[in-house]
Amino acid sequence: MTAGLSLSPFDAAWLGSVLVLMTPLLIAGAGELISERAGVLNVGLEGMMLSGAFFAFYVAYLTGSPAVALVGGVAGGLVFGLVMGALVILAGADQIVAGVGINLAAIGLTSFLFDQIFGGQDQVIVATLGEAPIPVLSSIPYVGSALFGQDLLVYGAIALIVATWFVLFKSSWGLMIRSVGEMPQASRTAGISVAGVQWAGVLIAAGLGGLAGAYLSVVDVGIFKEQMTDGRGFLVLVAVIFGRWRPWGLVCACLILAAADGLQLRLANVTSVPRSVWVGLLVAALLVAGVRWWRRRVGATGRGALAVTAASILVPGGLLIFNPDVHLPDQLWRSLPYLLALSVLAAGVSRSRMPSRLGLQPLRHEG
């Protein structure tokens, strides 16, 4: 084993794959963030994404245009958004139960339609939305093509997050949305239609969920496959929680999820974890610690948090120094993000940021 420090998994290709893996999460996450900020937990997101993936694929197949297909994807998500809104907002049904129902219905519907429409013929591959490299930037050596040589939706997703941040925190719409998820009584006395805002939230989440699904089917690969969203909808829910209901938090969460996924792709068959991974972990831990220190000033952190920080620095540090020959199972890498999200919840950090009416039925008798 050579002791040299190669950056191997953390290279341009990894960066590029992280961007691509992150894009559908970001798109759907932006919508889900808005919906959750308005108090609606959209457990049916997985189904909406799946529906978007299918309808985008079908539209692409009919029209041959990936761009029109994206519209089809949005429409596919919206179909279930309407169902969700009708059940949850109009009828006051339980959000989680409605979401579970929507997921099952979407799996059933898309599988069935796919079977009916495409079952008898050869596998259909539709044209995908090509790359749109940004002229000058994409020719930067090393990272240029990874960062700036992607398809339009990758940039779109980032723009979307900026837009989400802007809408939520810089515009009067954002105030309405946040106040509805936080304190609907206050919104009502301010003359805001709570149901209207929640409808908007649900439909935005559904439409963007559908778009994210469309990304999977017609932008990335040009193929539809039963249940191809493969739990990404749930992952988005995790990312929104993990990101503490903030756009930049969401970006960080999606980055971590996608980075872990990209890393796991790369590490899958390396016999022992390369040193650079420990370096990466150490850098990440130092970054987190640094941000915390900077945000809260020194001393403001509790003893438990301090211990966690110390451990998260010392462990990879030690591993870096001793560079042991470890092969961690892929499964651990894959579950790492969920374990992290769970600990964030348990640490109670997120609770304070959680929209206080999230997941709850609308207040009925509020004046």
């Binding site: 596998q123 690969v221 496959k225 191809m228 792709l265 068959n269």
Partner: protein, 338 residues
């Protein structure tokens, strides 16, 4: 496609050998499942007695697969199932239906049953692919991209790596199992990663996912020779070297044909198909490489070496041999009997 109820009754006569096919994925996946499906259709064409009565597709979980076996076993003469997990399922289900015959391609039955016919590929063609890959690489780095983490994937990877090590130990092998034969986007990301890590020849051991490998290779802007799995399609991507073919179609066709003509004897003997019979397993080259004397010659020599035993394959590249009787090659002598 498999007809309505009315049709079924009319074709059912005494001598017919009715077949039920179970597939883990869709029958039009242009890959593993589709080729098994074609095998049944071919067998039916060859032998008028063979009638495909019904096809159950997309049976992903063990539970669904078991149910599918239970559904078909009572209503057909032969249940054909393609995929590794059917071995253990047949171990349990076959004795319940003594009058039905069970054929698995790639399954791993652990028990001996008189009505189970099993054919598994010893994935040695991957060795040939590995040898050619060493020949083609300039960067001295080659890549193996696997689908689901299942035996054929791991065995092929082992054979591929062995070939590279034998031919030129200084060539590096990158390998990655993405977890799914059909997840195009993951395959794309993984392929891009490999290319970035320097691989300039790839074995893409995927089904529908191979499209992702093509896309990544094209986006990389480099000219990356790619081997694919099973069906040879030389136009899907400009630089397909060839296909590592474990011919499901032929395997199903052969097994069904043998059953129809009563030449497949004895039952319960697991067949391991290597390169003995090119109909079953081989490396197909696209014209550009088939006409390249160096590559074609290398391929031929490697196959010959494997067949005459001068090239020894590592144990991980071969199927674990069962406790019961088995034979190497469809016509090979029975080993381990009694």
């Amino acid at each position: 496609a498999c007809g309505s109820a009315g049709e079924l009754n009319s074709t059912e006569d005494e001598s017919a050998l009715t077949v039920g096919l179970i597939l883990e994925g869709p029958k039009n996946d242009k890959a593993f499942n589709e080729s098994a499906y074609s095998g049944v259709l071919n067998a039916a064409k060859d032998n008028p007695d063979v009638v495909l009565k019904s096809t159950l597709e997309n049976r992903h979980s063990t539970q669904e697969q078991t149910d599918a076996v239970g559904t078909l076993a009572p209503i057909v003469d032969v249940v054909v199932a393609a995929g590794a997990q059917f071995g253990p399922i047949f171990d349990v289900e076959a004795p319940k239906f003594p009058d039905t015959k069970f054929v698995t391609i790639g399954g791993y039955p652990a028990k001996h049953h008189d009505n189970v016919y099993s054919l598994a590929f010893d994935r040695v063609a991957a060795y040939v692919v590995g040898a050619i890959a060493v020949e083609l690489t300039d960067s001295k780095t080659v890549g193996f991209l696997g689908g689901a983490d299942i035996p054929p994937t791991n065995a092929s990877m082992a054979a591929f790596k062995a070939a590279v090590a034998d031919a030129d130990p200084s060539v590096k092998v990158l390998s990655n199992i993405v977890g799914d034969f059909n997840d195009v986007s993951k395959a794309k990301a993984a392929t891009a990663a490999m290319i970035a890590d320097g691989a300039d020849v790839l074995m893409s051991y995927l089904d529908a996912g191979v499209v992702g490998s093509y896309a990544a290779a094209q986006e990389s802007g480099k000219d990356i020779p790619i081997f694919k799995l099973d069906l040879l399609e030389c136009d899907a991507y400009p630089n397909i070297v060839g296909a590592n073919v474990g011919d499901n179609t032929a395997a199903v066709e052969t097994m069904l044909g043998g059953l129809a003509t009563d030449t497949l004897e004895p039952a319960g003997v697991t067949i391991f198909a290597g390169l003995e019979d090119p109909k079953l397993q081989r490396v197909d080259l696209c014209p550009r490489y088939a006409e390249d004397p160096v590559v074609a010659d290398l391929a031929q020599k490697t196959v010959a070496g494997i067949l005459d035993g001068t090239i020894a394959l590592p144990e991980e590249a071969l199927n674990p041999r069962p406790e019961g009787p088995y034979r190497l090659g469809i016509d090979g002598p029975v080993k381990n009997a009694g």
